[in-house]
Structure formats: C-alpha cells, structure tokens
C-alpha cells in the first residue's frame, strides 16, 4: 500500500493517521478536513470554550508535538464530494482528485437543524469550533436564549448560559430531559439541578416554528404559545455525513455500514468514528456511537484493519462511554440502554447528585451511570465488558448483603 487517504480531520481521522504510522506504514498519508482548523477536541466546545475559560487554540490536538512527525499531507478546508471506488479516487470540492490504495472514511456527523429556520439569524447549532465561537459572541450580548432539545448538548449549553448569567429556556418534546437514554428518575434529578440554577423548562411540547423578521424573535410551540428568544440553540441530534458516498458502492443506512472489522462494502475502504454503523459484539446489536472514546478506538482499529489486507482484521468490540459536565455535576455513563430498561440505584441518592445507577434488560447488565462518583464507574465498566448478568452486577454492588 503506497497511498492512504483519510477523509475527516477530527478525532477518529487523526487517531487513525497516528496509528498507521505507529504500525509502521511509511507510504503517503493524506488527511482531508472540511474545516479550516487543524484537528481539535470537541468536548470542551460546549463547556470551557463557550464559557470563555479556554482560548480556542487550547482545543487543538498535537499542540506540542506538531504534525511533522506524522509526515502527513494535510488538506484542510477541503470537502470530499464523491468517491469513485472502482478507480480508487476521492473527488474534492476544488476539483482535485486524490488517488488511494487504502481509504478511511471518518466524515463524522453534522448537527440537525430545524426546517424553515435557515433564513433567520440568531439560530445556532453547536458542533464545530466556529459554531462555538459564534455562539459565544452571541451569548456575550446577554440575549434571551431558547435551547431546543434537552439532550446532553442542550443541557450543557443551558449550563454555560447560566454560568454567563444569561436567561435560558429549554424546550423538549419529551416529558423530561434525558428521558430517552437515562430514564425518568435521572431526568427529574437533572431537571431539578437546572431549575435550581435558574433554567426554565417547557417539556412535553414540540416546536412548531421559529418566527421573526430576519432575526429570530420567538419560538412558537406546538400548543400555540410563544417563547421570546434572541438566540435559539438547536440541539436535536446529528446526521451522519454519508451524502458524498452516494453512488459509490459503499453501503450506507444511518451511517456507513461496516462489517464487524470496520471494513465497508467496498474493497480497500474502512471507516471510523461517528459515521460508522456496525454490529458491536459486546451488545449483539447494530449501533452508531457518537462518543469521544469510540472515535479514538475506532480510529486505531480502522488503521489496523486497513493494514491487515483484504481478508485480515478482527471484530471491533467496544463499550460505549461518555460523560457530561453541567454545573458541578459530572455524569459518566458506560453501556447501551433504552428508555424501558430497568434502573436500580445501587449507591447514593439522586437528590444529592452523588449516586451510581445500574441499567438491566433481559437479565443482562446493560449500562452504568455514575454521578459525581468517577471511582465507582470502573468496577461496573469491567462487569459490562464481561457481559455480566444484571443479578451479578446487583450482587457486586451489595457485597455485604450475601447469604
């Protein structure tokens, strides 16, 4: 293999390039990124960057070591438009074509928007560094903010708003924040925390439209009421970036469809990061994982897969893990849960926000949530990796309650 092209210059793409070099690949290596910025870390965007605690440059990866050791050809500010898989070429938006022997698709995902809001100013999503910097400028004007979507990004934005003493209302069509992933008890506790910090909620009601003349002025809800807004932040999930693969032969379907080894349906093409849909052996289900650790792990696994040749490679197995910081609350979650999983609080209390909750389904431990208890998460992560039964996990949580 003489030329590897990695499309997507974020965490997964960068970690893939680093892993290729660590594994001894010495050929040409091209990293293509849509944004003008060098690869940077996204978790601080909704936290330290939005609050102004960090200079933007601090989010940049490889600040100390630089890019010379990787011998990369960095193509930044360039978007991949098409893939000609037969000819093994990637078409860029400047008309150039990149030939490859091996290709890594790490194009990630983009924030979903509200239809009909494109013409209004004052409407934001938060996905990129530029998004964060523009939103920060807007927040410094002390606007009335409406956050659409009480998921993690929405709640972190709400937390940042309160830190900046900005008035914020969170609108969510579900009955509680975070209800879908983490269950109603946790959702209620998180809601109370935000309310104690001055956040208003409009729950169980959808958004009908964003209205205004040039600028957004209010959010019209599905019950007909209007919430005044100078700034609207839309946090309603992401869409994987696969449009450029249309007609390429690479199978897609809410993500790039990969085999268990992260190989795509096309020879010489592997994938990594938020864009990947694969069957995770640890949970026996097809999933796309939009978390930091997954990007790191898959970036490295995709590098190994590419170098293993057409028939090589090992199944990629991973325990999804994420965290969220809101006020003084640190939530850490490992596993894969649904809203109807059984939830058992095994340590602490929801009220003081210092607890560990386990999630079970069909007799299996499926997830663990630790709130302000990082040291407790690890033992349950181990049980999840071992595919422990729910009973075994509950017993491990109560070592003194034996026969």
């Amino acid at each position: 293999m003489d030329t590897v092209v990695v499309v997507g210059a974020s965490l997964a793409g960068l970690r893939c390039c680093e892993a290729l070099r660590r594994r001894g690949y010495s050929g040409k290596l091209v990293l293509v990124g849509e944004e003008a910025h060098k690869p940077y870390d996204r978790p601080p965007l909704s936290k330290q960057v939005l609050c102004g605690e960090w200079e933007p440059a601090r989010t940049e990866f490889r600040r100390k070591e630089g890019y010379a050791p990787l011998a990369l050809e960095l193509q930044l500010g360039r978007r991949a438009l098409a893939l000609h898989a037969q000819a093994r070429r990637v078409v860029l938006d400047d008309g150039k074509e990149l030939a490859y022997d091996g290709l890594v698709i790490a194009t990630g995902a983009r924030a979903r928007t509200l239809r009909g809001s494109e013409a209004l100013s004052g409407v934001f999503t938060l996905r990129t560094l530029d998004d964060a910097l523009q939103l920060r400028v807007a927040l410094l004007q002390q606007p009335r903010v409406v956050v659409v979507g009480a998921g993690f990004i929405g709640l972190e934005v709400a937390s940042a708003c309160r830190k900046l003493d900005v008035a914020v209302t969170v609108v969510e069509s579900m009955a509680l924040p975070l209800d879908n992933p983490l269950g109603s008890a946790v959702g209620q506790a998180v809601q109370r925390l935000h309310e104690a910090h001055g956040v208003s909620f409009r729950l169980g009601v959808g958004v009908a439209a964003l209205e205004g003349h040039g600028r957004v002025e209010h959010v019209r809800l599905s019950d007909g009421t209007a919430v005044p807004a100078d700034v609207v932040v839309v946090g309603i999930g992401v869409t994987p970036n696969t449009a450029w693969l249309e007609g390429s032969g690479v199978a897609v379907g809410d993500g790039v469809l990969c085999d268990p080894t992260l190989a795509t349906s096309v020879p010489g093409v592997v994938a990594a990061g938020d864009v990947v849909r694969w069957e995770n052996p640890l949970f026996g289900e097809s999933m796309r994982v939009e978390h930091w650790s997954n990007a790191v792990e898959q970036g490295q696994a995709a590098a190994a897969r590419l170098l293993a040749g057409p028939t090589g490679g090992e199944p990629f197995s991973s325990l999804p893990y994420f965290w969220s910081d809101q006020y003084d609350l640190k939530l850490q979650f490992a596993g894969r849960v649904r809203a109807d999983d059984e939830l058992v609080l095994v340590e602490g209390t929801l009220a003081d926000r210092n607890y560990v909750a386990l999630y079970g389904r069909a007799g299996k431990l499926r997830g663990v949530l630790a709130s302000n208890r990082p040291q407790q998460l690890l033992r349950y992560r181990k049980l999840l990796s071992e595919q422990a039964s729910f009973d075994a996990a509950l017993n491990a949580a109560r070592p003194s309650a034996g026969p």
Partner: protein
C-alpha cells in the same frame, strides 16, 4: 520512560486504569494516582494506550 500527568487536566475518567492497571489507579477519594512514574520497556505499550485513550489528554510520556 517517564509518565507525567497534568492533574489540572485529569478528571478521573479512569480509562488509563483499564489500559494500564500496573501504572494507574483511581482511589476511593476519586483522584488518580500514578503507581510507577518510570516504568520499564515491558509496560511501554500499555502506558501509550493509556495516554492515547485519556479523554482530557492529561498523560504525557517522555523517553529517557
């Protein structure tokens, strides 16, 4: 090899303790402890895995 942890960045995610339990430990106080700051070559791979997987980039490895 020398392990340097920036404790201002460390948030006790603890992924390093899974990558290299010989080198890192989160104790009951919730803080990270480095068990061996100058590990031998045999632990270099694990130390590198710990540094790569740290969500806050708090772990740096220096060659001797």
């Amino acid at each position: 090899m020398r392990i340097i942890v920036d404790f201002d960045l460390c948030q006790s995610h603890g992924l390093c303790t899974e990558a290299a339990p010989e080198l890192f430990q989160i104790r009951d106080d919730g803080f990270l402890y480095v068990l061996n700051e100058t590990p031998g070559k045999e632990l270099a791979g694990k130390a590198q895995k710990a540094a790569i997987e740290c969500p806050t980039g708090a772990i740096t490895l220096k060659d001797d």
